[in-house]
Protein backbone atom coordinates (compact mmCIF):
# COMPACT_ATOMS: atom_id res chain seq x y z
CA UNK A 1 0.00 0.00 0.00
CA UNK A 2 1.17 3.49 -0.81
CA UNK A 3 1.54 5.75 2.19
CA UNK A 4 0.40 9.31 2.03
CA UNK A 5 0.05 12.34 4.28
CA UNK A 6 -2.15 15.24 3.29
CA UNK A 7 -2.71 18.40 5.29
CA UNK A 8 -5.09 21.13 4.20
CA UNK A 9 -5.49 24.52 5.88
CA UNK A 10 -4.45 23.16 9.25
CA UNK A 11 -4.74 25.47 12.24
CA UNK A 12 -3.92 24.43 15.77
CA UNK A 13 -4.53 26.76 18.70
CA UNK A 14 -3.46 26.18 22.26
CA UNK A 15 -5.80 27.68 24.80
CA UNK A 16 -3.95 28.99 27.84
CA UNK A 17 -5.75 28.42 31.08
CA UNK A 18 -4.46 30.43 33.97
CA UNK A 19 -5.42 29.84 37.57
CA UNK A 20 -8.37 32.22 37.21
CA UNK A 21 -10.10 30.46 34.38
CA UNK A 22 -9.29 27.05 35.82
CA UNK A 23 -11.36 27.63 38.89
CA UNK A 24 -14.96 26.55 39.07
CA UNK A 25 -15.79 29.42 41.41
CA UNK A 26 -14.84 31.88 38.73
CA UNK A 27 -16.86 30.07 36.14
CA UNK A 28 -19.94 30.11 38.35
CA UNK A 29 -19.40 33.77 39.13
CA UNK A 30 -19.17 34.68 35.47
CA UNK A 31 -22.11 32.45 34.60
CA UNK A 32 -24.34 34.19 37.07
CA UNK A 33 -23.41 37.48 35.49
CA UNK A 34 -24.28 36.61 31.94
CA UNK A 35 -26.24 33.40 32.34
CA UNK A 36 -25.22 30.79 29.80
CA UNK A 37 -23.97 33.19 27.19
CA UNK A 38 -20.35 32.64 28.17
CA UNK A 39 -20.49 28.93 28.68
CA UNK A 40 -20.71 28.15 24.98
CA UNK A 41 -17.91 30.51 24.06
CA UNK A 42 -15.59 29.04 26.63
CA UNK A 43 -12.43 29.38 24.58
CA UNK A 44 -13.07 32.86 23.32
CA UNK A 45 -12.60 34.36 26.74
CA UNK A 46 -9.27 32.58 27.21
CA UNK A 47 -5.89 33.51 25.84
CA UNK A 48 -4.86 31.49 22.83
CA UNK A 49 -1.44 30.68 21.41
CA UNK A 50 -1.34 29.84 17.72
CA UNK A 51 0.65 26.62 17.51
CA UNK A 52 0.26 26.03 13.80
CA UNK A 53 -1.23 28.30 11.15
CA UNK A 54 -2.33 27.57 7.63
CA UNK A 55 -0.29 24.42 7.10
CA UNK A 56 -0.70 22.82 3.67
CA UNK A 57 1.32 19.99 2.19
CA UNK A 58 1.18 16.53 0.68
CA UNK A 59 3.83 13.92 1.41
CA UNK A 60 3.91 10.89 -0.85
CA UNK A 61 5.41 7.44 -0.73
CA UNK A 62 9.20 7.69 -0.64
CA UNK A 63 9.37 11.23 0.73
CA UNK A 64 11.90 11.84 3.46
CA UNK A 65 11.08 15.20 4.93
CA UNK A 66 13.27 17.34 7.09
CA UNK A 67 11.57 19.64 9.59
CA UNK A 68 13.58 22.78 10.14
CA UNK A 69 13.04 25.76 12.36
CA UNK A 70 14.21 27.47 15.52
CA UNK A 71 13.06 26.41 18.97
CA UNK A 72 9.37 27.03 19.47
CA UNK A 73 8.56 27.20 15.77
CA UNK A 74 6.21 24.24 15.95
CA UNK A 75 8.30 21.25 14.84
CA UNK A 76 7.30 18.92 17.65
CA UNK A 77 3.74 20.22 17.55
CA UNK A 78 3.54 19.32 13.87
CA UNK A 79 4.92 15.84 14.57
CA UNK A 80 2.40 15.36 17.36
CA UNK A 81 -0.36 16.51 15.06
CA UNK A 82 0.68 13.96 12.42
CA UNK A 83 0.84 11.19 15.02
CA UNK A 84 -2.71 11.92 16.19
CA UNK A 85 -1.80 13.16 19.65
CA UNK A 86 -3.22 16.58 18.77
CA UNK A 87 -6.29 17.12 16.67
CA UNK A 88 -6.30 20.31 14.61
CA UNK A 89 -8.57 23.19 15.60
CA UNK A 90 -9.61 23.40 11.97
CA UNK A 91 -8.52 21.95 8.66
CA UNK A 92 -8.39 18.58 6.99
CA UNK A 93 -5.89 15.85 7.72
CA UNK A 94 -5.59 12.57 5.84
CA UNK A 95 -3.09 9.84 6.64
CA UNK A 96 -2.64 6.50 4.89
CA UNK A 97 -0.33 3.92 6.38
CA UNK A 98 0.52 3.01 9.96
CA UNK A 99 2.51 5.44 12.01
CA UNK A 100 5.23 5.07 14.55
CA UNK A 101 6.17 8.12 16.50
CA UNK A 102 9.56 8.39 18.10
CA UNK A 103 8.85 11.72 19.69
CA UNK A 104 9.09 11.08 23.39
CA UNK A 105 10.41 7.56 23.42
CA UNK A 106 10.96 7.00 27.10
CA UNK A 107 7.37 7.60 28.11
CA UNK A 108 5.87 5.41 30.73
CA UNK A 109 8.98 3.76 32.05
CA UNK A 110 8.56 2.54 35.61
CA UNK A 111 11.36 2.97 38.10
CA UNK A 112 10.56 -0.12 40.11
CA UNK A 113 10.33 -2.44 37.10
CA UNK A 114 13.40 -4.17 35.67
CA UNK A 115 14.88 -3.36 32.28
CA UNK A 116 13.23 -6.43 30.74
CA UNK A 117 9.85 -5.54 32.19
CA UNK A 118 10.18 -1.99 30.93
CA UNK A 119 10.90 -3.21 27.41
CA UNK A 120 7.73 -5.30 27.48
CA UNK A 121 5.84 -2.45 29.09
CA UNK A 122 6.98 0.04 26.45
CA UNK A 123 6.08 -2.38 23.66
CA UNK A 124 2.61 -3.02 25.01
CA UNK A 125 2.07 0.71 25.44
CA UNK A 126 2.75 0.93 21.70
CA UNK A 127 0.13 -1.68 20.94
CA UNK A 128 2.35 -4.75 20.52
CA UNK A 129 1.60 -8.21 21.98
CA UNK A 130 3.83 -9.75 24.59
CA UNK A 131 4.80 -12.67 22.34
CA UNK A 132 5.83 -10.30 19.55
CA UNK A 133 8.06 -8.41 21.93
CA UNK A 134 9.61 -11.61 23.24
CA UNK A 135 10.42 -12.62 19.67
CA UNK A 136 12.59 -9.55 19.13
CA UNK A 137 13.85 -9.46 22.70
CA UNK A 138 17.28 -10.94 21.83
CA UNK A 139 17.82 -8.18 19.30
CA UNK A 140 16.80 -5.47 21.77
CA UNK A 141 18.91 -7.07 24.47
CA UNK A 142 21.90 -7.15 22.19
CA UNK A 143 21.35 -3.66 20.88
CA UNK A 144 21.04 -2.02 24.28
CA UNK A 145 24.32 -3.56 25.41
CA UNK A 146 23.06 -3.35 29.00
CA UNK A 147 23.76 -7.03 29.73
CA UNK A 148 22.83 -8.14 33.20
CA UNK A 149 21.61 -4.67 34.15
CA UNK A 150 18.42 -5.58 32.30
CA UNK A 151 17.49 -7.70 35.33
CA UNK A 152 17.78 -4.74 37.68
CA UNK A 153 15.18 -2.11 38.42
CA UNK A 154 15.26 0.96 36.23
CA UNK A 155 15.86 3.34 39.14
CA UNK A 156 19.39 1.95 39.48
CA UNK A 157 20.22 3.09 35.91
CA UNK A 158 22.18 6.19 35.04
CA UNK A 159 20.50 8.63 32.67
CA UNK A 160 22.69 7.44 29.80
CA UNK A 161 21.64 3.85 30.46
CA UNK A 162 18.00 4.90 30.58
CA UNK A 163 18.40 6.56 27.21
CA UNK A 164 19.91 3.36 25.83
CA UNK A 165 17.00 1.34 27.11
CA UNK A 166 14.45 3.83 25.79
CA UNK A 167 15.99 3.82 22.35
CA UNK A 168 16.46 0.07 22.20
CA UNK A 169 12.87 -0.64 23.14
CA UNK A 170 11.59 1.82 20.52
CA UNK A 171 13.32 0.12 17.60
CA UNK A 172 10.87 -2.77 17.80
CA UNK A 173 8.31 -1.41 15.36
CA UNK A 174 8.50 -1.36 11.56
CA UNK A 175 6.13 1.41 10.53
CA UNK A 176 5.19 2.78 7.10
CA UNK A 177 5.40 6.33 8.37
CA UNK A 178 8.14 7.24 10.78
CA UNK A 179 7.91 10.44 12.79
CA UNK A 180 11.10 11.29 14.54
CA UNK A 181 12.11 14.09 16.84
CA UNK A 182 15.75 14.77 17.57
CA UNK A 183 16.51 12.86 20.70
CA UNK A 184 19.51 10.61 20.22
CA UNK A 185 22.19 13.00 21.37
CA UNK A 186 22.48 11.12 24.67
CA UNK A 187 24.62 8.06 25.15
CA UNK A 188 28.32 7.51 24.76
CA UNK A 189 30.23 7.47 21.47
CA UNK A 190 29.80 3.75 20.98
CA UNK A 191 26.06 3.87 21.44
CA UNK A 192 25.57 7.06 19.42
CA UNK A 193 27.29 5.43 16.46
CA UNK A 194 25.25 2.26 16.86
CA UNK A 195 21.95 4.09 17.23
CA UNK A 196 22.69 6.33 14.28
CA UNK A 197 23.24 3.28 12.09
CA UNK A 198 19.99 1.82 13.37
CA UNK A 199 18.14 5.05 12.71
CA UNK A 200 19.43 5.16 9.15
CA UNK A 201 18.26 1.60 8.70
CA UNK A 202 14.80 2.47 10.03
CA UNK A 203 14.64 5.60 7.93
CA UNK A 204 15.47 3.60 4.82
CA UNK A 205 12.83 1.02 5.61
CA UNK A 206 10.06 3.58 6.19
CA UNK A 207 8.05 4.76 3.22
CA UNK A 208 7.59 8.26 4.60
CA UNK A 209 9.89 9.89 7.11
CA UNK A 210 9.30 13.17 8.90
CA UNK A 211 12.39 14.11 10.81
CA UNK A 212 12.82 17.16 13.02
CA UNK A 213 16.40 18.04 13.75
CA UNK A 214 18.94 20.84 14.10
CA UNK A 215 21.72 18.73 12.64
CA UNK A 216 21.82 20.20 9.14
CA UNK A 217 24.46 17.82 7.83
CA UNK A 218 22.45 14.83 8.97
CA UNK A 219 19.29 16.23 7.40
CA UNK A 220 21.11 16.76 4.11
CA UNK A 221 22.22 13.16 4.19
CA UNK A 222 18.85 11.50 4.78
CA UNK A 223 16.15 13.85 3.55
CA UNK A 224 15.05 14.71 0.02
CA UNK A 225 12.51 17.40 0.94
CA UNK A 226 12.30 19.95 3.68
CA UNK A 227 9.73 22.04 5.49
CA UNK A 228 10.91 25.18 7.18
CA UNK A 229 8.73 26.44 10.03
CA UNK A 230 8.59 29.91 11.49
CA UNK A 231 6.14 30.92 14.21
CA UNK A 232 3.96 27.96 13.37
CA UNK A 233 3.77 28.77 9.67
CA UNK A 234 5.53 27.21 6.73
CA UNK A 235 8.17 29.69 5.57
CA UNK A 236 9.70 27.38 2.98
CA UNK A 237 8.80 24.05 1.42
CA UNK A 238 11.00 22.42 -1.20
CA UNK A 239 14.22 20.52 -1.60
CA UNK A 240 16.54 20.09 1.35
CA UNK A 241 19.50 22.00 0.03
CA UNK A 242 17.54 25.18 -0.70
CA UNK A 243 15.55 24.95 2.51
CA UNK A 244 18.75 24.76 4.52
CA UNK A 245 20.09 27.83 2.71
CA UNK A 246 16.86 29.62 3.42
CA UNK A 247 17.07 28.60 7.08
CA UNK A 248 20.69 29.73 7.37
CA UNK A 249 19.87 33.06 5.77
CA UNK A 250 17.32 33.84 8.45
CA UNK A 251 18.99 32.42 11.49
CA UNK A 252 22.61 32.56 10.44
Amino acid sequence: MKSKILLENIYLDFPIYDSESFSLRNKIASMSKSAFARMSSEDKVNKVVHGLEDINFTFNHGDKIALLGPNGSGKTTLLKLLSGIYTPTSGKILIEGNISCMIDIGFGFQGDATGYENIIYAGISRGLRKKDIEKIMPEIEDFSGLGEFLDMPLRTYSSGMQARLAFSSAIASAPDILLMDEFFSTGDIEFSKKSEDKIFEMMDASSILVFASHDLELLKKVCNKAVCLKHGQISYYGNTEEAINHYKEFYG
Binding site: F14, P15, Y17, F22, S23, L24, R25, K27, K80, S83, G84, I85, Y86, T87, I99, C101, I103, D104, F107, G108, Q110, D112, A113, E117, Y121, I124, S125, R126, G127, R129, K130
Partner: protein
Amino acid sequence: MNFFKNNLALEDIIYIIKNYYSWSYLSYFDLKLKYRRTFLGPWWVVLGIAISATAMCFLWSTIFNLDWKEYLTYLYSGFIIWMWISQLVVDAPETFYGEAEKYIKAYPNPPLFYVFRKCSLNLLLFLHHLPLILIVTYAVNKKIELNVLYSLPLGMFVVFLNSVLFTTIVGMISARYRDIDPLLKSIMPPMLLLTPVLWKAEMLGSHINYIYLNPFTYFVGIIRNDLIGLDFDINIWIGALVITIFQLIIFIILYSKKRNRIIFWI
Protein backbone atom coordinates in the same frame (compact mmCIF):
# COMPACT_ATOMS: atom_id res chain seq x y z
CA MET B 1 -27.60 8.87 10.91
CA ASN B 2 -25.43 11.86 11.52
CA PHE B 3 -25.03 11.17 15.21
CA PHE B 4 -23.38 7.79 14.72
CA LYS B 5 -21.15 8.93 11.90
CA ASN B 6 -17.79 10.19 13.11
CA ASN B 7 -18.94 10.09 16.71
CA LEU B 8 -15.78 10.26 18.83
CA ALA B 9 -17.29 8.36 21.75
CA LEU B 10 -18.27 5.45 19.52
CA GLU B 11 -14.96 5.48 17.65
CA ASP B 12 -13.00 5.34 20.87
CA ILE B 13 -15.17 2.58 22.32
CA ILE B 14 -14.44 0.49 19.24
CA TYR B 15 -10.74 1.27 19.64
CA ILE B 16 -10.92 0.14 23.29
CA ILE B 17 -12.56 -3.15 22.35
CA LYS B 18 -10.00 -3.81 19.62
CA ASN B 19 -7.10 -2.96 21.92
CA TYR B 20 -8.38 -4.77 25.01
CA TYR B 21 -5.03 -6.57 25.25
CA SER B 22 -3.04 -3.37 25.81
CA TRP B 23 -5.02 -1.78 28.61
CA SER B 24 -5.78 -4.99 30.44
CA TYR B 25 -2.13 -6.02 30.36
CA LEU B 26 -1.03 -2.58 31.53
CA SER B 27 -3.40 -2.64 34.49
CA TYR B 28 -2.22 -6.13 35.41
CA PHE B 29 1.30 -4.71 35.25
CA ASP B 30 0.28 -1.75 37.44
CA LEU B 31 -1.08 -4.22 39.97
CA LYS B 32 2.16 -6.18 39.98
CA LEU B 33 4.22 -3.02 40.50
CA LYS B 34 1.97 -1.86 43.30
CA TYR B 35 3.07 -4.76 45.45
CA ARG B 36 6.70 -4.84 44.37
CA ARG B 37 9.17 -4.94 47.27
CA THR B 38 6.68 -6.11 49.86
CA PHE B 39 7.04 -9.51 51.46
CA LEU B 40 3.37 -10.40 51.82
CA GLY B 41 2.48 -8.45 48.69
CA PRO B 42 -1.25 -8.21 48.01
CA TRP B 43 -2.00 -10.18 51.15
CA TRP B 44 -1.19 -7.13 53.22
CA VAL B 45 -4.32 -5.43 51.99
CA VAL B 46 -6.44 -8.53 52.49
CA LEU B 47 -5.03 -8.91 55.98
CA GLY B 48 -5.66 -5.24 56.69
CA ILE B 49 -9.29 -5.54 55.64
CA ALA B 50 -9.72 -8.68 57.71
CA ILE B 51 -8.30 -7.01 60.80
CA SER B 52 -10.31 -3.79 60.59
CA ALA B 53 -13.57 -5.48 59.52
CA THR B 54 -13.37 -8.04 62.31
CA ALA B 55 -12.60 -5.40 64.90
CA MET B 56 -15.43 -3.21 63.62
CA CYS B 57 -17.79 -6.18 63.64
CA PHE B 58 -17.36 -6.83 67.35
CA LEU B 59 -17.65 -3.16 68.21
CA TRP B 60 -20.70 -2.37 66.10
CA SER B 61 -22.56 -5.62 66.74
CA THR B 62 -22.35 -4.76 70.45
CA ILE B 63 -23.41 -1.15 69.94
CA PHE B 64 -26.24 -2.03 67.57
CA ASN B 65 -27.12 -5.07 69.66
CA LEU B 66 -26.96 -7.45 66.70
CA ASP B 67 -26.13 -11.10 66.22
CA TRP B 68 -22.42 -10.82 65.42
CA LYS B 69 -22.44 -13.79 63.03
CA GLU B 70 -25.05 -12.32 60.75
CA TYR B 71 -23.46 -8.89 61.03
CA LEU B 72 -20.04 -10.24 60.14
CA THR B 73 -21.07 -11.21 56.59
CA TYR B 74 -22.93 -7.93 56.19
CA LEU B 75 -19.98 -5.85 57.28
CA TYR B 76 -17.31 -7.76 55.32
CA SER B 77 -19.24 -7.62 52.07
CA GLY B 78 -20.24 -3.99 52.53
CA PHE B 79 -16.79 -2.89 53.54
CA ILE B 80 -15.01 -4.58 50.63
CA ILE B 81 -17.50 -3.35 48.02
CA TRP B 82 -17.26 0.12 49.54
CA MET B 83 -13.48 0.04 49.20
CA TRP B 84 -13.85 -0.52 45.47
CA ILE B 85 -16.46 2.19 45.00
CA SER B 86 -14.84 4.86 47.15
CA GLN B 87 -11.44 4.16 45.60
CA LEU B 88 -12.75 4.68 42.10
CA VAL B 89 -14.54 7.88 43.08
CA VAL B 90 -11.46 9.34 44.75
CA ASP B 91 -9.23 8.23 41.85
CA ALA B 92 -11.46 9.68 39.14
CA PRO B 93 -10.31 13.36 39.13
CA GLU B 94 -6.68 12.51 38.40
CA THR B 95 -7.49 10.27 35.45
CA PHE B 96 -6.14 12.61 32.80
CA TYR B 97 -3.88 15.12 34.52
CA GLY B 98 -2.19 12.77 36.95
CA GLU B 99 -0.03 9.82 35.99
CA ALA B 100 -1.63 9.53 32.53
CA GLU B 101 -0.61 13.04 31.49
CA LYS B 102 2.79 12.00 30.17
CA TYR B 103 1.27 9.12 28.17
CA ILE B 104 -1.45 11.28 26.66
CA LYS B 105 1.15 13.82 25.55
CA ALA B 106 3.51 11.21 24.13
CA TYR B 107 1.36 8.58 22.44
CA PRO B 108 -1.84 8.78 20.42
CA ASN B 109 -4.07 6.48 22.48
CA PRO B 110 -7.56 7.91 23.01
CA PRO B 111 -8.15 9.31 26.52
CA LEU B 112 -10.70 6.56 27.15
CA PHE B 113 -7.79 4.09 27.06
CA TYR B 114 -6.48 5.46 30.36
CA VAL B 115 -9.94 5.34 31.89
CA PHE B 116 -10.12 1.62 31.15
CA ARG B 117 -6.63 1.05 32.42
CA LYS B 118 -7.50 2.68 35.73
CA CYS B 119 -10.94 1.12 36.11
CA SER B 120 -9.72 -2.37 35.36
CA LEU B 121 -6.97 -1.97 37.94
CA ASN B 122 -9.64 -1.17 40.52
CA LEU B 123 -11.68 -4.15 39.34
CA LEU B 124 -8.65 -6.42 39.69
CA LEU B 125 -8.12 -5.17 43.24
CA PHE B 126 -11.75 -5.95 44.05
CA LEU B 127 -11.44 -9.45 42.56
CA HIS B 128 -8.51 -9.87 44.86
CA HIS B 129 -10.60 -9.10 47.92
CA LEU B 130 -13.74 -10.89 46.77
CA PRO B 131 -12.70 -14.36 48.02
CA LEU B 132 -12.65 -12.88 51.52
CA ILE B 133 -16.38 -12.16 51.29
CA LEU B 134 -17.07 -15.63 49.92
CA ILE B 135 -15.03 -17.34 52.63
CA VAL B 136 -16.61 -15.38 55.48
CA THR B 137 -20.11 -15.82 54.06
CA TYR B 138 -19.63 -19.52 53.59
CA ALA B 139 -18.13 -19.94 57.05
CA VAL B 140 -21.09 -18.18 58.68
CA ASN B 141 -24.04 -19.21 56.49
CA LYS B 142 -22.65 -22.65 55.61
CA LYS B 143 -23.98 -22.10 52.08
CA ILE B 144 -23.90 -19.63 49.22
CA GLU B 145 -27.01 -19.15 47.09
CA LEU B 146 -26.78 -20.47 43.54
CA ASN B 147 -28.12 -17.27 42.03
CA VAL B 148 -24.81 -15.63 42.96
CA LEU B 149 -23.48 -17.30 39.81
CA TYR B 150 -25.28 -14.81 37.64
CA SER B 151 -26.10 -11.93 39.97
CA LEU B 152 -22.50 -11.39 41.08
CA PRO B 153 -21.00 -11.06 37.58
CA LEU B 154 -23.95 -8.92 36.53
CA GLY B 155 -23.62 -6.66 39.56
CA MET B 156 -19.88 -6.34 39.05
CA PHE B 157 -20.40 -5.55 35.39
CA VAL B 158 -22.86 -2.76 36.23
CA VAL B 159 -20.48 -1.27 38.79
CA PHE B 160 -17.55 -1.54 36.34
CA LEU B 161 -19.54 0.11 33.56
CA ASN B 162 -20.54 2.92 35.90
CA SER B 163 -16.98 3.29 37.07
CA VAL B 164 -15.88 3.82 33.46
CA LEU B 165 -18.61 6.40 32.83
CA PHE B 166 -18.05 8.17 36.12
CA THR B 167 -14.26 8.23 35.76
CA THR B 168 -14.49 9.69 32.27
CA ILE B 169 -17.04 12.36 33.17
CA VAL B 170 -15.36 13.42 36.41
CA GLY B 171 -11.89 13.05 34.90
CA MET B 172 -12.78 15.44 32.10
CA ILE B 173 -14.51 18.01 34.28
CA SER B 174 -11.70 18.02 36.80
CA ALA B 175 -9.01 18.23 34.13
CA ARG B 176 -10.60 21.55 33.25
CA TYR B 177 -11.63 22.66 36.74
CA ARG B 178 -9.28 21.41 39.40
CA ASP B 179 -11.77 21.94 42.23
CA ILE B 180 -13.35 18.51 41.89
CA ASP B 181 -10.49 16.58 43.45
CA PRO B 182 -10.57 18.15 46.94
CA LEU B 183 -14.36 18.13 46.81
CA LEU B 184 -14.63 14.38 46.27
CA LYS B 185 -11.88 13.64 48.78
CA SER B 186 -13.85 15.46 51.45
CA ILE B 187 -17.20 13.94 50.50
CA MET B 188 -16.25 10.27 50.47
CA PRO B 189 -15.46 9.66 54.17
CA PRO B 190 -18.87 10.93 55.37
CA MET B 191 -20.52 9.05 52.50
CA LEU B 192 -19.38 5.84 54.13
CA LEU B 193 -21.50 6.73 57.16
CA LEU B 194 -24.49 7.83 55.05
CA THR B 195 -24.58 4.64 52.97
CA PRO B 196 -25.92 1.38 54.37
CA VAL B 197 -22.50 -0.23 54.61
CA LEU B 198 -21.92 -0.46 58.34
CA TRP B 199 -25.59 -0.24 59.35
CA LYS B 200 -28.64 -1.96 57.94
CA ALA B 201 -31.36 -0.15 56.07
CA GLU B 202 -34.14 -1.46 58.34
CA MET B 203 -32.45 0.22 61.35
CA LEU B 204 -33.75 3.51 59.98
CA GLY B 205 -37.30 2.41 60.77
CA SER B 206 -39.83 4.71 59.18
CA HIS B 207 -37.05 6.72 57.53
CA ILE B 208 -35.95 3.75 55.41
CA ASN B 209 -36.81 5.42 52.11
CA TYR B 210 -34.05 7.97 52.61
CA ILE B 211 -31.46 5.38 51.58
CA TYR B 212 -32.79 5.55 48.02
CA LEU B 213 -31.67 9.17 47.77
CA ASN B 214 -28.10 7.99 48.03
CA PRO B 215 -26.74 6.68 44.69
CA PHE B 216 -24.15 4.54 46.43
CA THR B 217 -26.90 2.46 48.05
CA TYR B 218 -27.73 0.91 44.70
CA PHE B 219 -24.21 -0.06 43.71
CA VAL B 220 -23.36 -1.57 47.07
CA GLY B 221 -26.73 -3.33 47.02
CA ILE B 222 -26.57 -4.95 43.60
CA ILE B 223 -23.38 -6.79 44.49
CA ARG B 224 -24.07 -7.48 48.13
CA ASN B 225 -27.70 -8.52 48.48
CA ASP B 226 -27.58 -11.86 46.69
CA LEU B 227 -24.06 -12.57 47.77
CA ILE B 228 -24.88 -12.78 51.46
CA GLY B 229 -28.46 -13.99 50.98
CA LEU B 230 -30.45 -10.83 51.71
CA ASP B 231 -33.97 -10.40 50.32
CA PHE B 232 -34.18 -9.41 46.68
CA ASP B 233 -34.97 -5.70 46.30
CA ILE B 234 -36.07 -4.68 42.83
CA ASN B 235 -35.69 -0.95 43.67
CA ILE B 236 -31.95 -1.38 43.90
CA TRP B 237 -31.64 -2.76 40.38
CA ILE B 238 -34.00 -0.16 38.92
CA GLY B 239 -32.03 2.61 40.63
CA ALA B 240 -28.72 1.27 39.33
CA LEU B 241 -30.16 1.06 35.83
CA VAL B 242 -31.50 4.61 35.91
CA ILE B 243 -28.14 5.99 37.10
CA THR B 244 -26.33 3.99 34.42
CA ILE B 245 -28.51 5.40 31.65
CA PHE B 246 -28.18 8.90 33.06
CA GLN B 247 -24.38 8.63 33.17
CA LEU B 248 -24.27 7.08 29.71
CA ILE B 249 -26.10 10.03 28.19
CA ILE B 250 -23.79 12.57 29.86
CA PHE B 251 -20.78 10.51 28.85
CA ILE B 252 -21.73 10.38 25.17
CA ILE B 253 -22.52 14.08 24.95
CA LEU B 254 -19.52 15.28 26.93
CA TYR B 255 -16.99 12.87 25.48
CA SER B 256 -17.90 13.28 21.83
CA LYS B 257 -17.98 17.05 22.18
CA LYS B 258 -14.88 17.68 24.28
CA ARG B 259 -12.64 14.64 23.84
CA ASN B 260 -10.16 16.51 21.66
CA ARG B 261 -9.85 19.31 24.21
CA ILE B 262 -8.61 17.07 27.01
CA ILE B 263 -4.96 17.33 25.94
CA PHE B 264 -5.13 21.13 26.23
CA TRP B 265 -6.51 20.99 29.75
CA ILE B 266 -3.76 18.86 31.25
